[in-house]
Symmetry: C4
Subunit: 273 residues, 4 copies
């Protein structure tokens, strides 16, 4: 590989992976818009009346996006140092899964499979996560979630435990004659109930079942409060730290520390913070 080719690669790398340059920014916007439009087309195509009236147009648009995404996929392979690592990475697999089924569908024109494969392209929505700004904006939220990881695991384990026990009890109490045909089915009912969704496709019929269900709902009240408490406490902490970090910023001009939260200029020397 000669030097000039490397320079060309480097420029492309900057455009595709960074958004400091104008070209990089344009590339980002074009790709995000394409991904969103592609998703809308795929979603629209599953609606019967739309498929009948403008199905042909949507079909053409889909191939345009497939070609575009294929082109992007090839570019990405060309510019990265470690090609194998990219292809095997999460986003590499997502990028490939979004285009491969389209090419397979040419040789396997089963209508059911076609529909299924098309929806795979929705996976490209994950690519938007690569865009730095979104990740940056959600920084504090992610920090709060990560900090409360241990507590949430304990919470989820407890929930799962409650669901297994209540599911088994309801299977015994209500039985298959009232829609609780198996323990997994009963556990599905317990999830629907404790999460307060309550479809009503399965619901207790006997007085004992109704009493147990009522107790589960009242307890579910307290349960729903726990993750909220965990995350609220963490968000409040992360927020406080972010504010403290700002107020304890050191003035580069005079060295003064501890400024007001909304200070833009140092209140001792007037230098910009």
């Amino acid at each position: 590989m000669d030097k000039t080719k490397k320079q060309w690669q480097l420029n492309l790398y900057k455009i595709i992976n960074e958004s400091d340059t104008i070209q990089g920014r344009v590339f980002d916007i074009v790709m995000v818009v394409s991904i969103v439009l592609n998703s809308i087309v795929i979603i629209a195509e599953t609606v019967e009346p739309i498929r009948i009236s403008i199905g042909e147009i949507l079909m053409t648009l889909q191939w345009v996006f497939v070609v575009l995404f294929t082109f992007e996929y090839i570019l990405r392979i060309l510019i990265v140092e470690n090609k194998k690592k990219y292809v095997a990475s999460f986003f590499g697999v997502v990028d490939m899964m979004a285009i491969l089924p389209a090419y397979i569908s040419i040789f396997m024109p089963s209508i059911r499979l076609l529909a299924l494969f098309r929806t795979f392209r929705l996976l490209r929505l994950f690519s938007i996560l690569k865009m730095g700004r979104y990740v940056e904006a959600s920084g504090n939220l992610l920090k709060a979630l990560r900090a409360s990881r241990a507590k949430i695991t304990v919470f989820l384990f407890t929930i799962f435990f409650v669901i297994v026990v209540v599911g088994a009890l309801m299977y015994i109490i209500e039985g298959p004659e009232n829609g609780f045909v198996s323990i997994p089915e009963s556990m599905y009912w317990a999830v629907v109930t404790v999460s307060t969704v309550g479809y009503g496709d399965i619901s207790p019929q006997t007085p004992y079942g109704k009493t147990l269900a009522s107790m589960l709902m009242i307890v579910g009240y307290g349960i729903i409060a726990v993750p909220t408490g965990i995350i609220t406490s963490e968000i409040a902490l992360v927020d406080r730290k972010a504010r403290e970090a700002k107020t304890s910023a050191t003035c580069v001009t005079c060295g003064r520390k501890s400024h007001k939260e909304d200070a833009v200029y140092c209140d001792k020397c007037g230098g910009k913070l």
Copy 2:
């Protein structure tokens, strides 16, 4: 425009837009009561038994309110400096939309359209928002919501992303034979489920669908905790600042700062705060 007319305009302006004078207060109350009564009349008229028994009276009342609102609309145009700006403003459009359909309905007596146009007058409820006190009272709440705008946007984007992906997956897993007739329909189901509303008009029938739905509900648990955490953290902060603002009030008599939260008199010189 001569000087005396301007004085007359100014007085009217004060009555209509401010509530310092007795006349201004009376005008405010009359308009709020009219808007609320008008809304009750419109709502009541859609109820079959009420329409049959006292439909005529309600019809008459409606015209009384239309005339009143028309009178107010003309007054408002007369008193404002920049008439075009008011007519094109949000409240200007709302005020007009609330009366125009009534006059159109005279010339187009289609019953269906009539009902539709009448409900437009409910828009006048928005006018209550103009009343200063309500906006003032909700000050801290709005501040908290505005401060958490960025985080809520990230949260809504994440929710939307989850709904698209889960909606597409459920469309593939369950398919039209189980009520998931299209991806938009599946997305509607996902919204109904993740918000824990759970109508039960569409619900998963296959074991795989039920498993995915259960996972969505458990995740929905954590998800519902996030906006609560964000807003709680902000409300707590805004509350604390409001309290601190009060405790750091400077005494006008002696210049002493940092008083107790519920202090009415300065604890140094006894001067009223």
Copy 3:
């Protein structure tokens, strides 16, 4: 009224209204147990199989409680200074409403009315609120709720506004043919949806209705976070104040202030706090 009678009155007053003496405590417990048992009897009597098998026994028990409550009501009138004030007070009316219908039912033996009047006796449950301990224990919770009264009013007003507007919109979009037979009915649907109850007795059928409903649900997410935020913020504040009140307790022996939260003895002079 002679002196001796007053003493007798005073003793009874202490027994009935205070719980410092043993007799007062026994009276309290007997009344609470009677009220709870009476409630269970009334609730049980509405269940068909129970009424058929032990209806006679329940009927007898009811009359026992009626006589007991009548006796208590007469006692209360006898001992209070201002008899008119008690009879017209909230608890006075509750106490009377709980026994009067039973006597009326002797002369008006309509079965439907009988059932209705009996349930009135459940009102006596409110009397438990009179017992000091319960009110005391819920002190901090009530303080938090009272402090956030203004914000919750603004919140409820906003919710009501959203329900009227969305209800009217859904009535126009879906119409009587899809179950939205009137604006009040649509408003009922909006309440069921925004509170995430979601019975599914009425649910949107058209694409536009489903889109608006989805938006309401997502917004409902944010909305449900607001009262939680308000109350959490207040409870946290009330808790903090309660702790601070304890830590700032002044030692009666040496006058030292600001002790540790769990301190029982003064850490300066060793005197009990």
Copy 4:
């Protein structure tokens, strides 16, 4: 009992009840895996298609687990000092209930009873709670819940009170003809509604019933906020204390107090904290 046997008992005791040694750790893992696998087998057996295809294999696996749990139960009895205390303890009863029904089922081969007895073995899931790590990890959460015990009791009492009163009112308003066949049934509906589950198996049909239900839902909004507020406030406090405990750790080398939250080394003398 001679000394050597005691040593053998002691070693077994360490393996079974502690997880410091390698053997103890292996024993823990084997038991947890067995309990989980056993649960999966029992749950799977209630699913009709699975029972038909691999029912024999599941049956054999169940007996393997019964023998294993029996062996463990005997071991536990052998090693503990106070054998009666263990047998009568919560975990002793759970351990016995998990194996006894299997042996009874040999002599009472009723199919219905068999299924019921098998699910009893799910009780062994509770044994996982004995494993120290899980309890340790959930320490702070439990502390927060325990601290808010008093407030949650008041809250649950209030909820129960609301459910009784609203249940009785709805029974009077709607009556048996609309599905509210008794007060307990109405109370079940009230629980389903106030917990926002909303199955829709019973729902108000009359305008008055719908109005009362709407009020209950709106109030339920505020109600659901209360336990969240309580638990959030406590979790935030417990978290703060845990952080403060860390930051106020005294350095064993130099005696310095108040370190940074994430400090691992003392910032004065460099000694490990």
